[in-house]
């Protein structure tokens, strides 16, 4: 052994340092890599359970239809058929469980509608779009029924100027 190490002690010590480095790395992995990492993919398997444990905040369209039959029915046949009730009205699982506990606020149509319908050249041309500067009068829902949007708006109360959405 002594013969093997003759004139090479420094190299063995350096190799020892590398071994220590590997051990520290292995130790750090044992401490820091969370349990279950890599079981299903490049993430912590327990994250799925954590997500599942979050309380549900959305009730779903079926729950809404249970009490509010008309609007969900109208919605089904309209251009907004694929827009969920809670996409506009907010997460309402608490209301669905006990209507007395939470009374939903009516959404601010002027802000909400523009989330999707603000004019933007990057949107498909067939998608209804509007620039609020070109059409500043009134509130959207005065002429457009969000539960059954039509190509032509419903007659507006005077004196609101009518202008079809682009």
């Amino acid at each position: 052994m002594r013969h093997l190490m003759k004139n090479k002690v420094h190299l063995f010590r350096m190799a020892g340092l590398f071994v220590v480095g590997f051990l520290v790395f292995a130790g750090a992995r044992a401490v820091f890599v969370p349990e279950g990492f890599g079981v299903y993919g490049h993430y912590r398997a327990g994250a799925l359970e954590d997500n599942r444990a979050f309380p549900l905040v959305h009730a779903g369209r079926a729950a809404c239809a249970g009490c509010h039959g008309d609007e969900p029915e109208a919605l089904k046949a309209s251009r907004h058929a694929k827009v969920g009730c809670e996409a506009c009205h907010g997460a309402l699982a608490v209301h669905a469980d006990d209507p007395a506990k939470l009374t939903p606020k009516k959404p601010d149509a002027k802000t909400l509608c523009l989330v999707c319908h603000m004019a933007n050249v990057a949107k498909p041309s067939g998608f209804k779009q509007i620039s609020p500067e070109d059409h500043p009068e009134g509130v959207c829902t005065e002429c457009h029924d969000p539960h059954s949007p039509a190509d032509a708006p419903k007659p507006a109360p005077a004196p609101v100027q009518k202008e079809a959405a682009k």
Partner: protein
């Protein structure tokens, strides 16, 4: 906000193309890693290919490579934020991501190649300085020598062999380090400015050019500051190698350009327009004319006509400085240029560099100064000039 963004746009841009995601810091990253790889290749010329004339720059090249390698990940850290998360790259390696594997390429090159090679090459001086120094310096050098005092001829001969082996491994490692950076860009198939298999090769050769130019410049400047004589045989040889490497690099880039022009795919008009407008200064003027043709011409001059020693030094200073600017411009044109045009090929955006922000010009300048400060520290710690070893060599060995 929207108005100010749109004022930067000409023609049609998709919304996610308006703002550049990769800033000036990402320009620095391939630039700095390229300098590392190039400096190492120059060092290997002496060690592996036995080009004795470049020996005076061997250690300087290694230390320069180390100083720049230490800074290389900082632009990425500053760009991404949350530096503590970078450890995840090591703890949970993602083998299918080239970017995620960079950590291992970096660590391998830093520890298994560069630090080890420098340590072996300097071990004799480290031991001698540990014997001579006192106080904290003694402790530092003793730690660096790993407490081993043996600098017998046999042990140094073993160091020489191991060092030789490391350099041989180091060359493909240096190629890997920088070829990898080109690979990252070259494999982005959605971007026609980047997506070419030529990219790793072009990056590699430009890295060699910039690294050699840097070491030559640093050698001349530090020799001037130190008051030591510039070894003209050495600088002439390096300048010649720089010229050869530059000609190959320039030709490769020319072939890439020619191929793009001849192929003229659907992106060509858009890219051609960009080169003539937004990238005109950085591509045509800085990269091709002042950072390419001119330094090649300056380096070729002493090969063609008799030039005095003093004039040659001036020529090399100018040529290496221009080369470094030219290669920086090349990185800029690749990284920034690749984000200025729309995938629709119908529009262009603008990159406005901030100043004193996390990804602004100021941190970029500081990140370019930092390796030189580290290099000054390294030169003080491990002087590459031969004299240090010779002065103390005669002293009797003492226990460390």
């Amino acid at each position: 906000m929207q108005d100010s963004l749109l004022s930067a746009v000409e023609g049609f841009m998709y919304p996610n193309e308006i703002e550049l995601q990769w800033s000036i810091l990402i320009v620095l990253y391939p630039y700095i890693t390229g300098l590392v790889a190039g400096a190492f290749i120059l060092a290997s010329l002496e060690r592996v290919f036995k080009v004795e004339a470049v020996k005076p720059t061997y250690r300087l090249a290694l230390l320069t490579a180390l100083a720049f390698l230490l800074v290389a990940p900082l632009p990425l850290q500053m760009h991404l934020g949350h530096p503590e998360r970078s450890l995840q790259m090591y703890l949970t390696p993602h083998t299918s991501s080239a970017m995620a594997m960079f950590g291992f390429v970096y660590l391998w090159y830093l520890l298994a190649v560069l630090v080890l090679e420098i340590w072996l090459d300097y071990r004799k001086e480290i031991v001698l300085m540990a014997r001579q120094a006192s106080g904290w310096k003694k402790l530092l050098y003793q730690t660096m020598s790993l407490g081993v005092d043996d600098i017998s001829e046999e042990s140094l001969a073993i160091d020489q062999k191991v060092g030789q082996f490391l350099t041989v491994i180091g060359i493909p490692s240096a190629f890997l380090l920088h070829g990898y950076v080109g690979f990252i860009f070259g494999s982005i198939k959605a971007n026609p400015w980047w997506s070419t298999p030529m990219m790793p090769i072009v990056f590699l050769f430009s890295a060699i050019v910039s690294g050699i130019a840097l070491v030559l410049l640093v050698y001349m400047v530090f020799s001037y500051i130190n008051g030591t004589r510039i070894d003209m045989v050495c600088v002439d040889t390096i300048a010649r190698y720089l010229m050869y490497a530059f000609i190959i690099d320039f030709t490769l880039e020319g072939i890439d350009l020619l191929h793009r022009m001849y192929e003229a795919d659907e992106s060509f008009k858009s890219l051609d327009f960009m080169v003539h407008t937004k990238l005109f200064v950085s591509q045509i003027l800085l990269q091709i004319i002042f950072g390419g043709l001119l330094p090649i011409g300056l380096l070729a001059l002493p090969q063609l006509v008799a030039v005095t020693e003093r004039a040659r030094r001036g020529l090399y200073l100018l040529a290496t400085s221009l080369t470094l600017i030219g290669i920086l411009a090349m990185r800029w044109n690749v990284v920034i240029g690749g984000q200025l045009f729309s995938k629709s090929f119908l529009g262009y955006t603008t990159y406005k560099v901030d100043f004193a922000t996390r990804e602004g010009l100021l941190p970029a300048i500081l990140l370019l100064i930092l390796p030189f400060l580290i290099l000054i520290g390294l030169l003080k710690l491990l002087p590459p000039w031969e004299s240090t070893a010779n002065v103390h060599e005669g002293e009797e060995p003492r226990a460390v």
